[in-house]
Symmetry: none
Subunit: 247 residues, 2 copies
């Protein structure tokens, strides 16, 4: 087995007989935002092209490194899996995977070997002959009332799912602020209850469900340490201002 690399670097996006250069540029940008950079073009109608450059924005390097091939065979050469995107879910074809499940499987393979993803022409999609070259056929679940996904949008969704499949880890620890310990939160509830009683919002003889409701609300919040300090500061100030009136 070969060494493991970043699987995204083993994935090529193959655009087949693309008509509009703008779609090639948008696809390049879509790929680069998701960490993909290997674009293969089979007989594009116009390439290179100023419109492709314009829509690529700062992903022009993807266009500059793009390989242009005369046949699909050439573009697939060296890859171990070809997977074709289609809007059609027809009877006579290879197993049709949804894009998420497909991304999971392709990323596994791409850890060590080359994978190709095929996107057909804007109007005709992939031909039956081209789909027959694919081990997988991938369907993006469009609304049945309007299935006409733009080809660069299809590249965007597929690239996004491939990236998501590589990111197995949950939220990074930097997202987590320091939380208030539970004993502080209990202390806050206690002081709040005293204060609400003092300002006659809470009647200890008829407390109803007020404190349980407030607990439930703050339980959802998961108070951070600094937020706990702010709340305690507010309570202190309310008490300072109401002391003379109540006492």
């Amino acid at each position: 087995m070969k060494n493991t690399v970043n699987p995204l670097s083993n994935i090529r996006i193959v655009m087949d007989h693309t008509s509009h250069p703008g779609n090639i540029g948008s696809a390049a940008r879509a790929m680069k935002t998701m960490g993909l950079n290997r674009l293969y073009l089979v007989e594009p109608q116009r390439f290179p092209d100023a419109e492709a450059d314009a829509l690529a924005c700062d992903a022009r390097d993807v266009l500059e490194q793009a390989q242009v091939h005369a046949t699909l065979d050439q573009a697939l050469s060296g890859s171990v899996i070809a997977a074709g995107l289609t809007a059609r879910r027809r009877g006579l074809q290879n197993p049709c995977l949804d894009v998420r499940e497909a991304a999971r499987r392709l990323i596994e393979v791409a850890a060590t070997q080359e994978v190709a993803l095929l996107f057909g022409n804007e109007t005709y999609g992939l031909s039956n002959a081209e789909l027959a070259r694919c081990q997988y056929v991938i369907a993006i679940p469009t609304d049945s009332a309007y299935t006409s996904l733009n080809v660069a949008s299809a590249v965007q969704i597929m690239s996004y799912e491939l990236r998501m499949a590589t990111l197995t880890a949950p939220n990074s620890p930097t997202d987590t602020a320091e939380m208030a310990p539970l004993e502080d939160i209990e202390f806050f509830y206690q002081r709040l209850e005293e204060t609400l009683t003092r300002i006659q919002f809470l009647d200890p003889a008829h407390p109803k469900r007020l404190m349980p409701r407030i607990r439930r609300m703050f339980a959802r919040t998961q108070l951070e340490k600094e937020e706990f300090s702010i709340l305690m500061g507010i309570i202190k100030q309310i008490n300072l201002f109401t002391k003379s009136k109540v006492d």
Copy 2:
């Protein structure tokens, strides 16, 4: 509890200060392929526009039904959650969700109540003030080497994840409490700020980051209607008790 509907019909896509009409058209097409059709535009630079029509293809009906608003407040009115898309993951902001987790949560709420998704300007994204209006900030996990996702592509990915979330959601609606509408929550912040100023916890000359911090804390909470009433009741009572002392 309100009746359950197709959650996608309770979701509005809000494009804020969009510069390029082509992006509005592409976003409309992206939405419609995923079964979304409610587009709200806040001060678009050019709309309606031939370029938007051209890129919308057969999603022109989405453009024709689009609502154009002068302010973000107007565009958010009636929704119980606002979620903003951002490329930035900064320190002091609302909890940052990945797009998949966000889609799951939003679809649950959208089964019974209105949800707004905010997409900022192509160059500047959403301002800090706009992000402060959002209960959720959603990050699409772009490659750190190139984070410049096109705004219509961001709409495409978000719409796709929302659709995927509806396809995988359990059939029975979850028991979601009725939430406070955003205009009520803004009113609460406003009254709270006045009250904190009155009791001299907040110094208007040196507000520091107090209100943004409080907004962030309550944004996580997702206030329910009854909780909003409790909080307004507490504020009223504080004011009643402090009035004689301050005035």
